[in-house]
Amino acid sequence: MDTIATILSSVLAPGPFLAMIGSSILGVFIGALPGLNPVMAIALLLPLTYSMDPLVALAMVAGIYNGSMYGGAIPAILLRIPGTPAAIATTFDGYPMAQKGEAARALKIACWSSAIGGTASALALITVGPLLARATLAFGPAEYFWIAVFGMASVGVLVGNDAVKGLMAAVFGLLLGTVGLDQLSGVPRYTFGQTWLLSGLDLIVILVGLYAMPPVLSLAEKADLSGLSSRDLKLEAVRVPWSEIKSIIPTWIRSSLIGIGVGILPGAGGNVAAFLSYNAAKNASDDPKSFGKGNPNGVAAAECGNNADNAASMIPALALGIPGNVVAALVLGALLIHGLQPGPQLFHQNPQLVGGFMVEMLLTSLIILVVGGAAATRVFAQVQRLPGVLLVPSVLVLMTVGVYVINGRVVDLWIMFAAGACGYFLEKMSVPLAPIVLGLILGPMAEQNIRRALLISRGDVTELVTRPISATIAVATLALIVWPIATAILRRRKAAREPANTAPQDRTTP
């Protein structure tokens, strides 16, 4: 009990407290600007914090991380441009809502969902995290292979109305994922002797091009000289009725659990969590057809899922010293700088600091409610009022700057523009873009891990399904694929039977 009191008082001291508020605001802005991402912001900020109190430094990490995950939703809803990779799934229903004039409601739901996901995740980090961390060690290459396949199986939800086009997009994504130096053989693939292709296609570069350019170009096509008038914006005091909140609660619970589960596994990120949550929400819905057309549950699932990934991704980092993503690696670096060795003993040796960081992850999730709900949303929603002639060049400049600073390479800008042109034409041909990104993320994960698993088993394929965890995920994947087909066949039979009640039945029944 004493520890909790001292932790709270040290976290709520002026230094860390102001750092949390300031960095949450900063995080929302970073997330909202396509190209700029939390990894970069934290990487650039941390060296400046070496001389500070570690709790202040960690407060900044927590604020930027949680803030940016919500911030990514703002352009996703308003402009169909995901501010971060994890906000792709937010565009599916967020943008249709905005088009229906419900932008403010979508933003409010996104904000609440982010805060709830983040809070649930932080609570998991504080309570069960350290115990669960050990269990994740049972996940080896074979298990990660199946997780990637499971994620890919969910592509069915994303392909839209035309399955062939959706699958083509997914395969295109898989192909893009093979570019670069193969980690397992050291052989360059599809690099055409170009050094800059050796490290593969950077996910954020492709994403910004693919996802941000088509909406910008379609804005440019309209070439409108005036934006929305402030009267049409309808931002003031949107009330989300209790009945609607009640209908979202199951989505929040489901997405929080999915986000935490994905986060605790090193190597799978917020984007995977958001896709899986969205998928689960759609499957569980009574009216799956309404998804993609502005269902608030879609926004809630995606935003809750990606924020629930945040604190949970710190569990393996803090408990085992194994960073699950780049942000966690940066946090580990920051702890080391302050003389703390992450790993099993960290909790015993320095409960103050670890506990403090966990509480900061929790508090920054709640700060989002205030910062995001009251301030940032209103500021950013003004973007809609900008006329296209101003908005298009501004977004293009921001994208270009954001992409350039990721690797400091001009060639990335050309990749971005190429991906943008690609995305623009694919969209004109109504090819869905999400499967491309999913293929790009999960393809390399599946490929590398199946090869690692086979190296370890000396080529014995049965190892992939005889281990208990991998077998479970394999069966779940199979069910995910077979279930919709089976229900569709059953429904069709039923439909065929009912109107033609006489003819076929006569033959079978004497």
């Binding site: 970069m40 060296p47 194994i322 099993p344 400091g408």
Partner: protein, 316 residues
């Protein structure tokens, strides 16, 4: 960025660099790794101290990709005027050219000085049938292809460091490449691979908790933090030493006076107690080697790695 712009703006005004006044404008330091990694944090920390020492600001430019070769390739366009430096770890210079086609070689640079170094280690679970480095190698040699070892990627420095030792003793172990030491550690602790191969600091807490037994380090001398691990010298393999080390380079043809000025500044800042303490948190030790000695160090390592990668069939 601002300094960089000012530097570019001043460029036409500086007609003949007066060496006595070097440096009289900002220095751009290319780091061929992403912001936030080990090489980047080392360089940024050092840059803060160097700014005080040189009285000019240093602008860090991260150019990531291709195991460092993308940044180094871009750096090849820089002029040897002392205002463009490369802060890198050894792999892009000595390892990457073995397995990739690169436009640069050792003679493309004026070596300034090395800054810090750390060894790699190989660790096993406590029930592994060996207690010393010698027994470890004997066990591996007696059981070809029985054990799997994780490393940081095929053709990476860690794998080559291990294979240099293995080839001397006719050891065949199955290399399982992972994305980095964290992933290797995760798979080692989960029992998916038999041997952890990677940098020392991630595995250190598990040595203290008794879950890992580190039996060998890839430096000639033993490492204080890992008393059970044998240094290569005690195994008669000191010629196979392979370290992870960091260094500062300039383009070939740099004026000797400027190089000397930089060596003096690095000598002072690297050994600054603040920097030494910073290095210790990452398990690294300061070691400033400059001039001819550094050229020899690079050449020896380059030749050793060329030999092992040729035997592994990885060479370009």
């Amino acid at each position: 960025m601002k300094n960089l712009l000012i530097g570019i703006a001043l460029l036409p005004l500086v007609t003949s660099p007066a060496l006595a006044d070097y440096p009289e404008r900002a220095i751009e330091v290319t780091v061929p790794a992403p912001a936030g990694g080990g090489t980047d944090t080392s360089a940024r920390k050092l840059a803060i101290l160097l700014e005080e020492e040189l009285g000019q600001s240093l602008a860090i430019l991260n150019v990531a990709g291709g195991g460092g070769s993308v940044g180094v390739t871009q750096f090849m366009q820089a002029r040897p005027d002392g205002y463009s430096l490369l802060a890198t770890w050894n792999s892009p210079i000595t390892t990457v050219p073995q397995v990739q086609q690169t436009v640069y070689g050792l003679d493309s640079f004026t070596p300034i000085a090395s800054t810090s170094e750390t060894a790699y280690t190989m660790c096993v679970k406590p029930d592994f049938p060996a207690e010393t480095g010698a027994e470890f190698l004997d066990e591996l040699a007696a059981n070809p292809d029985k054990y799997t070892y994780g490393n940081d990627g095929i053709g990476g420095t860690m794998q080559l460091a291990a294979e240099r030792i293995f080839q001397q003793r006719d050891i065949k172990a199955v290399a399982i490449p992972f994305g980095g030491a964290g992933e290797t550690l995760q798979n080692f602790l989960g029992g998916h691979i038999d041997i952890y191969g990677g940098s020392i600091s991630p595995v250190l807490p598990y040595v203290e908790s008794g879950e890992a037994k580190c039996l060998i380090v890839t430096s000639a001398a033993p490492v204080e933090a890992l008393p059970q691990a044998a240094g290569l010298e005690s195994l008669g393999l000191e010629a196979q030493e392979t370290l992870l080390w960091r260094l500062v380079l300039a383009p070939a043809g740099l004026d000797q006076a400027i190089a000397d000025r930089l060596v003096a500044a690095l000598e002072k800042t690297v050994n600054d107690p603040e920097y030494v303490e910073f290095l210790a948190t990452k398990g690294e030790l300061p070691n400033v080697v400059a001039g001819e000695a550094l050229t020899r160090r690079l050449q020896t390592e380059y030749d050793g790695l060329a030999e092992v990668s040729k035997k592994l069939g990885l060479s370009q």
